[in-house]
């Protein structure tokens, strides 16, 4: 099933302090964290973003802290997926663990803010529906795809726990 949404285009090295400033680490609730998503980049971002929007970033997205609150904030504000040329490793694991799809793809040059994006997690196809241009993401490793298919790591573990 392809996901479709509007693109938000970002540069390289969008770090976790920009995605979710440290002062909000006292929060755990997805909705509350969502109110501060990308505040370090633009305090007004949360007023412009719409549920279903997709981030299209550059190299080394999510570098820095291990704070899971960063991808949770993005999910909380309604971001449906993050596409980036490369991810920092902890952010990538965190995103998939909480059920926020993250796709590795050099696609930023094909998009402007607001362009309609279509992406297919199974095939890795990413399409700009305004221009028709397409990019191919690196396949998500099967190991990680299992986590996504389960709807996150907790769901995957829950079904594997012994009953009773």
């Amino acid at each position: 099933m392809p996901i479709t949404g509007r693109a938000w285009v970002f540069g390289d090295k969008v770090d976790t302090d920009v995605i979710l400033p440290g002062k909000y680490l006292v929060l755990s609730d997805e909705g509350e964290l969502g109110k501060h998503a990308l505040e370090g980049f633009d305090p007004g971002f949360v007023t412009k973003v719409q549920p279903g929007d997709i981030i299209v970033g550059g190299r080394y997205f999510g570098c820095g802290s291990s704070r899971e609150q960063a991808p949770v904030a993005l999910k909380g504000v309604g971001i449906a997926a993050v596409v980036a040329e490369t991810f920092a490793r902890i952010f990538y694991r965190n995103a998939l663990n909480i059920g926020l799809p993250a796709l590795e793809c050099r696609a930023r040059h094909l998009f402007q803010d607001g362009d309609p994006v279509s992406l297919n997690l199974e095939t890795g196809e990413i399409r700009n529906l305004r221009t028709g241009q397409m990019a191919q993401a690196k396949p998500i490793p099967p190991f990680m795809m299992d986590i996504i298919a389960a709807g996150g790591l907790m769901n995957k573990i829950r079904v594997s726990l012994p009953k009773g």
Partner: protein
């Protein structure tokens, strides 16, 4: 097959004769650490599983260090949540707000031993690699999985060997060495990789100094940053380790993705400039930059070795009214050492503020958040935009450069301070 240090540890943990980069291995966790910054979210995920007990409370360490003492009701609630959790789970290794920064407390209290797999919900968990531990930062939900199963998966990383040679010039500290490494590798140059620090310069370092190198491995994206255990490691652990361990060493003929040699003989003090840790310049390029705050502390450079360097610089000098100097020892043990050696007195007499051991302003929580436009020179590991206050400019340097610049009111080479008398 010959293996690097991280390959060896992962192979043993996985019960395999050998592992190769790129393979996925599932391994049992020896130590799982949470703190109050990211721990509450881990507990939330863990409880969503409907489980009552963690897999093994003797392998869990809980430390309150990010907001110590608590500056807000929200932080107090999170600390209480972790206190209650430790009690309810029977976790003996619980360290309250009086003990210091997790990455310093783990090794000091013998929770980080060579050859172990250590995970923590903090990116700088890699600091413990200084003792030859496979130590890495993970997310909160990932930790909930560890709490439930006692296991975690890793992709076996490619290893980079970073070899340091040469004689250490005056005013050069491990911070300068790692910032110079950062300049060469860039902040993404070690992404997903295991960094092994080696060579005569590293062998001559104390465990505390090695921790400065390993702490910064994540700033290059590294999964782990490690030093092979040696006599220095064993001496450090003699009175700290509470259980036996096997100090694994890399094979001499192991395959590294790359071996990079550094000759540090001509290195000058290094400064990371806003807003990226790899925006590193020789000090000469930024000398004269006015600073408003000087911060000496953190899991990068808040150890006794670092406080000694800073105190030697400010001894008998006065920090001008234009600069706030904040000194925060990394742990209670460090604080006590600094008291015994008279370093605290030296700092306070020079006009610095000495705070209780904790993370302080480094992650933007308290004790020195800056106003927009202000400049802070810090011994910390990150200078991302907004990290210590929106619109502030963060520079990173060694304890000596930070102390000298505090006295000068601007970024200065420590040698110049002595010349000026």
């Amino acid at each position: 097959m010959a293996m690097t240090l991280s390959e060896k540890i992962l192979a043993r943990a996985a019960g395999r004769a050998e592992v190769s980069p790129g393979e996925i291995v599932e391994v049992p966790v020896d130590v799982a650490m949470i703190h109050e910054g990211t721990g509450p979210l881990a507990l939330k995920s863990f409880r969503s599983l409907g489980l009552e007990k963690v897999w093994d409370p003797s392998k869990v360490v809980v430390i309150l260090d990010h907001y110590a003492p608590s500056p807000s009701e929200a932080a107090a609630e999170n600390q209480k949540m972790l206190r209650d959790f430790a009690k309810e789970q029977g976790i003996a290794a619980f360290y309250d707000i009086d003990q210091g920064i997790c990455h310093q407390v783990l090794p000091e209290k013998g929770h980080a031993l060579p050859g172990q797999i250590l995970v923590g919900t903090d990116s700088h968990t890699c600091t413990a690699g200084a003792l030859g531990v496979f130590a890495t930062g993970i997310g909160s939900t990932e930790m909930a999985g560890v709490f439930a199963t006692g296991r975690i998966w890793f992709k076996v990383p490619e290893s980079l060997k970073l070899v340091y040679r040469g004689s250490i010039p005056p005013y050069i500290t491990p911070m300068d060495i790692i910032l110079a490494t950062m300049k060469r590798l860039t902040s993404e140059g070690g992404n997903y990789k295991a960094l092994e620090f080696a060579g005569p310069v590293v062998e001559a370092m104390t465990v505390g100094q090695r921790m400065t190198l390993c702490n910064m491995a994540i700033e290059m994206g590294g999964k782990v940053g490690m030093v092979a255990p040696d006599a220095v490691t064993l001496a450090y652990l003699r009175d700290r380790a509470k259980e036996p361990f096997q100090a694994l060493a890399p094979d001499a003929d192991a395959t590294y993705e790359e071996t990079i040699e550094f000759d540090i003989s001509r290195l000058v003090p290094q400064v990371a400039c806003p807003h990226s840790v790899d925006n590193v310049r020789d000090i000469g390029e930024v000398e004269g930059t006015t600073i408003h705050q000087a911060f000496l502390g953190t899991c990068t450079n808040g150890r006794l070795e670092d406080l000694r360097l800073g105190a030697a610089v400010v001894k008998g000098k006065k920090i001008p009214p234009s600069v706030r100097m904040i000194v925060i020892p990394a742990s209670r043990e460090v604080f006590l050492g600094a008291l015994k050696e008279g370093l605290v007195q030296t700092f306070v007499e020079a006009g610095a503020i000495v705070a209780n051991p904790n993370c302080g302003p480094c992650c933007g929580n308290h004790q020195g958040i800056l106003a927009p436009g202000e400049v802070c020179l810090s011994t910390a590991n990150r200078n991302f935009s907004g990290r210590m206050g929106r619109g502030a400019q963060l520079y990173l340097a060694s304890p000596q450069v930070v102390a000298a610049s505090a006295v000068a009111g601007r970024i200065v080479h420590p040698a110049r301070l002595w010349q000026a008398g």
